[in-house]
Amino acid sequence: MKSILKLGMKQRTYAEQKSLWGFLFVLPWLLGFIFFFIIPFISSFRYSLSAIEASSEGMKIDFVGFSNYTEALTVNTSFNRILTESILNMVVNVPLIVIFSLFLAVLLNQKFFGRAIARSIFFLPVILASGVIMTLESSSLIQAVNDQNAGSGILSGLGSYELASMMMNAGVSETITDYLTGAVDRIYQVVSQSGVQILIFLAGIQSISPQLYEASKMEGATGYEAFWKITFPMVSPLILVNMIYTIIDSFARNDMTELIRETGFTTFNFGLSSAMAWLYFVAIMIILLVSSYLVSKRVFYQE
């Protein structure tokens, strides 16, 4: 086998060899892509347009048009609510997580005592805050009681009330106040979802050449100016990357996912479940496109 390949290879140019090998390298992925992605993807669309009856002889698929979609949107009691809720959550959380992780990345990039320890603590959520642990954690009773007890203490004592009244007095508009105090209340959620994003930003900041900072320092720029004039434009492509990652990451812990699964696997309404999944997919696509359009206009590329 090997010798045949080698024999065939002799006559080829380097470029031809490379393209042949490239195809071979990509082939496993391509097979998986066809069998575990494209075919299911298409049949999911087909299911969403049909009524499916699974019986002992196999499946009966009848084409019914868009009735599954109308059922999801008008008949099903929880679909609309959950869809708007999860999209709203996404819209609220994504900017928060991106800004927060950029801030932390800048912080963790500075030199200070115990930086290595701080970094490893901040990347810990990458490991801990995923999948089943997150769901169980929210249902832990002891945690809830202890949080209540700690309520007068450090954790939420500094919390939103003081901040809210302070900001209202300072004349900040009510929506912004609500948004920011909400962020303070959900600090654990935000921190635990921004592990990977911090990593990406940190890597980006470290790839900026130090000469730029040196030059700006010579010219008398403050650290604040250096951030807005150098760091921010240089990492702005990563803001796009991180935004997309955050949106995708939220698929995993989502009521919508739960609803789609439940419709599919406990009530065995595969058609309705697929229709829901497609509606969800389209909604997310719209968000991704709109937000990437808005952000990519402001992104600075070196080329």
Binding site: Q17, K18, S19, W21, F25, P28, W29, L31, G32, F33, F36, F37, I38, I39, P40, S44, G58, M59, L104, L107, F112, R119, S120, I121, F122, P125, I127, L128, S130, G131, V132, I133, T135, L136, S140, L141, I142, N146, N149, L155, I187, Y188, V191, L199, I200, L202, A203, G204, L238, V241, F251, T257, I260, R261, F270, S273, S274, A277, Y280, M285
Partner: protein, 315 residues
């Protein structure tokens, strides 16, 4: 004189900033570590300490009963072995196939490879729920385009085996594999072309170049992908509960822990068991489940934090 005053103002500012920074970092670290510390303190508490108003963090009576309880209910050692085998096999296979695909997309351009890379991006974008049901049905009657029924007469049911995981990871389509391909591609693009050309001049074929030159250089990317894939597979409840309904894997065991616990404690009747005690054992279970991950992280974190800076995750 003026210069000296300026200097002192400057250093004063710097001192203030480092204080603020310290406070921020310590505070946020506390927020992150709080649940873990909480769980540790709960896990070593005796039942009687649960209602004692004096005990907040450090228990008065230490006990390992919670651990024993959780270990026996979760069938811990068996589950640990299962999960470890599953996660490490998918991790190795995924890393290998994604490295191949990533290198193929980065350096070995062929006609249509740009289009196929668009396919990779598509797999990242589409929520896994969208394709879950067809995949499920497909795996339930696995035919491989009609080949298997021809050979054995009937289709295979791959559910409740490790085959779905193995097949998807060999073909680089497992959990978040698109992301790993992306990481590898970005990394390989960052290695200078001259290295490859020199290897070719010295008579190495493309495969040899990949194995001998590119892979040893790609250690940071490999570490990152391996860690991500191992951890996410370990914690994943989405695919695991779909593909494996009865096998004992950490995430399914954890998910069903509350239920099993209430059966165990109250002999089948719900609501009789003390909810606080149940929650206590459940916390211990979570701690036991993440303990291997924390140990793993302690070993690789240094390497990981350093290596991510060189992965080229950054365009």
């Amino acid at each position: 004189m003026i210069f000296a005053r300026l200097l002192s103002a400057e250093s004063w500012k710097r001192g203030l900033w480092s204080f603020v920074r310290l406070a921020l970092i310590v505070g946020l670290s506390f927020v992150i570590l709080y649940p873990i510390l909480q769980k540790i303190s709960t896990a070593i508490k005796d039942k009687s300490d649960l209602y004692s108003p004096i005990v907040v963090w450090i228990p008065a009576n230490y006990t390992l009963d919670n651990f024993k309880q959780a270990i026996s209910i979760m069938d811990y050692w068996h589950t640990l072995l299962n999960t470890f085998v599953l996660s490490s096999s998918t991790t190795i296979l995924t890393a290998a196939s994604c490295a191949l695909a990533g290198y193929g997309f980065a350096r070995l351009k062929f006609r249509g490879s740009g289009l196929l890379f668009g396919g990779v991006i598509l797999t990242i974008m589409v929520p896994p729920t969208t394709i879950l049901i067809p995949i499920y049905l497909n795996l339930k009657d696995f035919t491989l385009m009609g080949i298997i029924p021809l050979l054995t007469g009937k289709s295979l049911n791959l559910l409740n085996t490790y085959w779905p995981f193995i097949l998807t990871s060999i073909t680089a389509n497992s959990l978040k594999a698109g992301l790993y391909i992306f990481i590898f591609r970005q990394f390989f693009r960052g290695i200078p072309k001259e290295v490859e050309e020199a290897a070719y001049m010295d008579g190495a074929g493309v495969g040899q170049t990949f194995l001998r030159i590119m892979l040893p250089n790609a250690v940071p990317a490999i570490v990152t992908v391996t860690l991500f894939s191992f951890v996410w597979q370990w914690n994943d409840s989405f695919f695991t509960t779909t593909y494996l309904t009865s096998s004992k894997v950490m995430s399914t065991q954890l998910g069903s822990l509350p239920y099993n616990l209430s059966i165990f404690l109250s002999g089948g009747e719900n609501s009789k068991a003390d909810p606080f005690y149940m929650s206590m054992v459940q916390d211990t279970g979570i701690l036991l489940a993440i303990l291997p991950l924390i140990i793993l992280y302690l070993f690789v974190q240094r390497y990981f934090v350093e290596s991510i800076e060189r992965t080229g995750l950054v365009g």
